[in-house]
């Protein structure tokens, strides 16, 4: 049965059955909600901060899409909302760019990195590997606070006199280094850099925790090849982040020096606002290399956890193992490795050495291979499955669909000569929105609907879920597909209006279609917002394992306790994908159920089954006999005082 050999590194001291005395851990408001060190609470904090930021980010896009669709119309409500940034109801072009910049920054970093990885890593890693909490709950708490205060600093930049950073989310110098080039490059830019540094520190702290926890705190029987794919993905992107964020922080610090201290890392030969600046010898391409060295792995830091979520959702709701688990693991590692050697495909037309164009064409196309293997494997997971088309499954299928639509155009952009007419056009905008802005976000939505019962003990409303899904699927396609055609027509991105060129103005009618679809899709997200907050308090109470899933998080009590399991940690006997196994009494077998448990007739599939009756078992006697336990013998759930003070706890390092 078990095709996965338990390796020596997973041999682990089994939790003996002792429980801490009944000093219940009393949390004050501050330690429970604000400075929580419990990974589940931190997950909620990341989720809500991420979604709120994300909603602000897409609202910004509603405003600038309005400008693009109706460039000659005055909108009085804009003046009411934005004051001096929309005089006479016409959006100021510099502020237009500020909106575009903040839209990109908030959504790429805050929603898709912090909100996606932060939430699901915190929620799932300890629970799915059978640990009490993260390796360092204190640093975990700090990681959220750096993330949160970075958010505050970024949002504050909206309110400064000269406006927020406006040089694009990529903030290329000299535009971003010279306040006289653009108003947003003054204080707004300093605040942007500050918030990014805070953000990165938070991400790195989180990443350290994830890596340490996955490597050291897996429960007995949880070998690396028995980990759910989402854990593999989160572990891998933690490593990716640790290696790729620091060069970008270096880039931002050098940018700050050029901006405020008159250095010339990037600046040279500049005559602006009637003055010749003294800086000579710097080169902007240094910034481009440093930034994109992060920039490209960053998009895989976004994508890999999203695909990991899709793996879990598709296998669980198709009642079938993920197809090709080993290939999926190798693909995650392969994508992560190759993502480090493709960055200069963002720089094909920058004037760098043309030889690099050839090299990076080859490496960029290489990454298509593991990516395509993953997509095929999702489709073949559905093959011969029994598909439950509930809301999480719909979003997971949507993730795959949008990855097809968006990923295929990577073949054009990754080839240097074809990138010549397409670089910085709407073709690129369509491509990255479909893969990141839609595909990854759909995975985030799907994961939210799927794990909502684990986070809040209630179900989200299914019907509203279907409505949200279909409106968003249709709307997002209507918004981004037309952009491909615009790109083939050469329409550049980051343009305030299409009215000044003959070859752009012929696309004006499509702009109206895109804007209308965008506004409708943004409105559709209100359904999700309502569903999310309403279900949190008044949703149908969830059973312990509503989706009949195998992974360990569904064996933890519905009501959160510190330490995740009141007694012993579960012991893992199989991989997470034993769905519809022939000979099994149900179409799923949770990881903590052994073949012996099945043989002695444990009815684990019933709704009122209590996992603790299997998890909390006395140590095996010398002859391997185990006393049968009935649910009545299970110890009552008790709060564990401090997860790191368990004497035999999972935090002792494994070999």
């Amino acid at each position: 049965m078990a095709t996965h050999v338990q390796t020596a590194t997973t041999a682990h001291a089994v939790e003996s059955g002792h429980h801490h005395d009944h000093d219940h851990h009393h949390d004050s408001f501050w330690t429970k909600y604000i400075f929580s060190q419990d990974h589940k609470t931190i997950a909620k904090q990341f989720l809500i901060t991420g979604f709120v930021s994300g909603f602000i980010g897409i609202l910004l896009s509603g405003i600038f899409r309005l400008q693009l669709a109706y460039p000659d119309t005055s909108f009085p409500f804009l003046e009411t909302l934005l004051g001096k940034w929309a005089p006479e109801g016409r959006l100021d072009p510099n502020f237009y760019m500020a909106l575009v910049t903040m839209h990109g920054t908030i959504l790429v970093f805050w929603l898709l990195t912090g909100g996606l990885s932060g939430t699901f890593a915190n929620l799932l890693i300890p629970l799915q590997i059978g640990a009490r909490d993260m390796a360092s709950p204190f640093i975990n708490m700090l990681s959220f606070h750096f993330f949160f205060w970075g958010t505050v600093v970024l949002m504050a930049s909206f309110f400064v006199e000269t406006g927020p950073a406006a040089a694009g989310w990529t903030v290329y110098p000299p535009l971003s280094a010279l306040p006289q080039a653009m108003p947003g490059s003054g204080l707004g830019m300093m605040l942007w850099i500050t918030s990014l540094v805070l953000f990165v520190v938070g991400v790195l702290m989180g990443g350290l925790n994830y890596i340490t926890t996955v490597l050291n705190m897996r429960t007995k029987g949880m070998s690396l090849m028995r980990m759910p794919l989402i854990v593999w993905a989160l572990f891998t992107v933690a490593v990716l982040g640790l290696l790729s964020f620091p060069p970008a922080v270096a880039a931002f610090i050098l940018l700050l020096f050029d901006h405020s201290l008159g250095t010339s890392f990037y600046l040279s030969d500049i005559y602006i606002a009637g003055q010749a600046l003294p800086q000579q010898g710097g080169n902007i391409l240094l910034y481009l290399h440093l930034f994109w060295f992060l920039g490209h792995p960053e998009v895989y830091i976004v994508l890999l956890p999203a695909l990991g979520i899709a793996s879990e959702l598709i296998s669980t709701h198709a009642r079938k193992p993920i197809f090709g688990y080993k290939v999926m693991v190798y693909s995650i590692l392969g994508i992560a490795f190759v993502s480090f050697i493709v960055w200069a495909h963002h720089m094909f037309v920058s004037g760098m050495n043309p030889l690099l164009g050839s090299i990076f064409t080859a490496t960029t196309l290489l990454v298509a291979i593991p990516s395509a293997m993953k997509i095929f494997n999702y489709i073949f997971t559905l093959w011969k499955g029994r598909l439950q088309l509930n809301t999480p499954m719909l979003f997971a299928i949507g993730t795959v669909s949008f990855f097809i639509s968006g990923g295929l155009t990577g073949f054009f952009l990754g080839v240097a000569p074809v990138d010549i007419p397409l670089h910085n056009t709407y073709f690129v905008v369509g491509h990255f929105h479909l893969v990141m802005g839609v595909s990854a976000v759909f995975a985030m939505f799907g994961g939210t609907y799927h794990w909502f019962p684990r986070l809040w003990g209630r179900m989200m409303n299914e019907r509203l879920g279907y409505l949200h899904f279909w409106l968003t699927y249709i709307g997002a396609n209507l918004v981004f597909f037309p952009m491909y055609y615009m790109g083939l027509g050469g329409v550049p991105r980051r343009y305030y209006a299409f009215t000044e060129f003959a070859f752009t103005s012929k696309w004006q009618d499509l702009n109206v279609v895109i804007t209308m679809a965008a506004l409708a899709t943004i409105a559709a997200q209100l359904i999700f917002v309502y569903n999310f907050f309403h279900s949190m308090f008044w949703g149908k109470k969830a059973p312990r394992n509503p989706w009949k899933a195998n992974t360990l998080e569904w064996s933890s009590p519905v009501k959160h306790i510190h330490g995740n399991w009141p007694g012993q940690l579960p012991v893992v006997h199989r991989w997470p994908y034993d769905y519809s196994k022939s000979g099994a009494p149900a179409d799923f077998i949770p990881q903590y159920i052994s073949d012996e448990d099945i043989a002695r007739g444990v009815r684990y599939w019933e709704e009122d089954f209590e996992p603790l009756s299997v998890i909390d078992r006395p140590d095996e006697g010398g002859d391997g006999e185990r006393k049968a336990m009935s649910p009545a013998d299970a110890p009552a759930p008790q709060a564990v005082l401090n997860p790191n003070r368990d004497e035999d706890s999972a935090s002792s390092a494994q070999a």
Binding site: G186, Q275, G357, S358, V415, N424, Y496
Partner: protein, 387 residues
């Protein structure tokens, strides 16, 4: 009923709503008055569209409200016997069909707005490669989506009694690997070839004319400088910029003294000649984007970039091909450079060698000072403008 609480809350707040409504109406009237005073010419058509959109939105919201009220009032549960899996499957089939139809219809429908045939020698293999890649991705889009939709149609919950356990299938994995590797390798090899030969391997044919010009980007316009009689561009330095010397040309350099900066905002290129364009920027990053020629390179302050191209279709010929007597080649900026980034336009004219020479002869050389001495601009630290 729980909704009683809602109705009660709404009702109690009625005076508040009334006040808010009155204030909103007054503010709306204020705004309307201001709009009327400062509005551009009134357009019935745009008003009609605004009203139509408002009505559409109102109808949608009201129908939702109506359905909700009916459900609450009668206790009817439309989802009681609703087959979730079958109906979502049907929606996938419907939406998928409409999606396919729209994609199939739209790609050729907008084809007349894509970039026309390339107007340069190296543009031809670029376009050929682009459409070659499309001949793979376009069918792949449909095939892979069809596979996805098929799985939904064939294996949704109502149609299958049990899933079939399988960890993998080596034949399928191998087939998928081959299926993706062949296009990847083919496209990579083709791409590297086109990049190194047609694009970067341009050199003059025997007897082919060559010209060199410089295009300089600044916030927010393009300037061009042509080599004069000597066929060479002179030195420049950014500290020499000032007064009429907008490009910082060093007039102590003999080669610079006959350089030409066209007074009109247009560039002329001779058809069939090998054109070398030196691209630089005075202030921030810009990008020289000549979409019709498939030419694109950043204008980097402090770095000397250059592109080469051979124009193959004159403006007059292209106008005839497109049936558009007003067509002009356009130079656009394609790297964000500030507020007016969208408005950096320069006309590009391609004409015969004789017409080109005649045009160039009419242009005045660049400003020449009375004494051929460089005027050194004063180096100043820029004040920190961090407000």
């Amino acid at each position: 009923m729980k909704c009683m609480r809602w109705i009660g809350a709404v009702g109690l707040a009625a005076p508040l709503w009334a006040q808010i409504g009155a204030a909103a109406k007054a503010r709306a009237a204020e705004i309307a008055m201001e709009a009327v005073k400062s509005a551009p010419a009134f357009s019935w058509e745009s008003l009609l569209w605004k009203v139509v959109w408002l009505e559409v939105i109102a109808v949608i919201i009201l129908s939702f409200l109506l359905v909700w009220v009916v459900i609450r009032a009668t206790g009817w549960d439309p989802f009681a016997t609703w087959d979730r899996d079958k109906n979502n499957m049907r929606l996938w089939m419907l939406v998928g069909l409409v999606f396919f139809a729209l994609v199939l219809w739209s790609a050729p429908h907008y084809a007349d707005r894509y970039l026309p045939e390339p107007a340069s020698l190296h543009g031809v293999p670029i376009d050929r490669l682009l459409w070659g890649i499309a001949s793979f991705t376009y069918p792949a889009f449909f095939i892979v989506h069809l596979m996805l939709f098929y799985m939904i149609w064939r294996y949704y919950n109502g149609r299958v009694r049990a899933a079939t356990y399988m960890e993998t299938h080596h034949g399928i994995e191998r087939g998928a690997l081959i299926a993706i590797s062949i296009p990847v390798v083919t496209i990579a090899v083709a791409g590297i070839y086109v990049w190194s030969q047609p694009v970067h391997g341009q050199s003059p044919e025997p007897g082919q004319k060559e010209i060199e010009l410089e295009v300089v980007a600044e916030q927010f316009q393009w300037r061009a400088r042509y080599a004069g009689q000597d066929g060479k561009l002179g030195r420049y330095h950014y500290t020499l910029i000032g007064g009429d010397n907008v490009l910082g040309i060093d007039f102590t350099d003999v080669k610079a003294q006959d350089d030409i900066i066209p007074q009109l905002k247009e560039i002329h290129l001779p058809v069939g000649a090998l054109v070398t364009i030196h691209v630089r920027s005075k202030d921030v990053l810009h990008s020289l984007y000549l979409p019709h020629f498939r030419t694109h390179i950043y204008a980097v302050p402090g770095q000397k970039n250059k592109v080469m191209l051979v124009p193959t279709i004159t403006t007059r010929e292209m106008r005839k091909k497109l049936g558009d007597p007003d067509f002009d080649y356009e130079l656009a900026c394609n790297q964000l450079c500030g507020g007016a980034h969208y408005n950096m336009r320069m006309k590009v004219v391609v004409e015969s060698w004789e017409e080109y020479e005649a045009w160039l002869r009419q242009q005045k050389p660049a400003y020449q000072p009375a004494q051929p001495q460089p005027v050194q601009a004063e180096l100043r630290m820029q004040p920190n403008q961090n407000s």
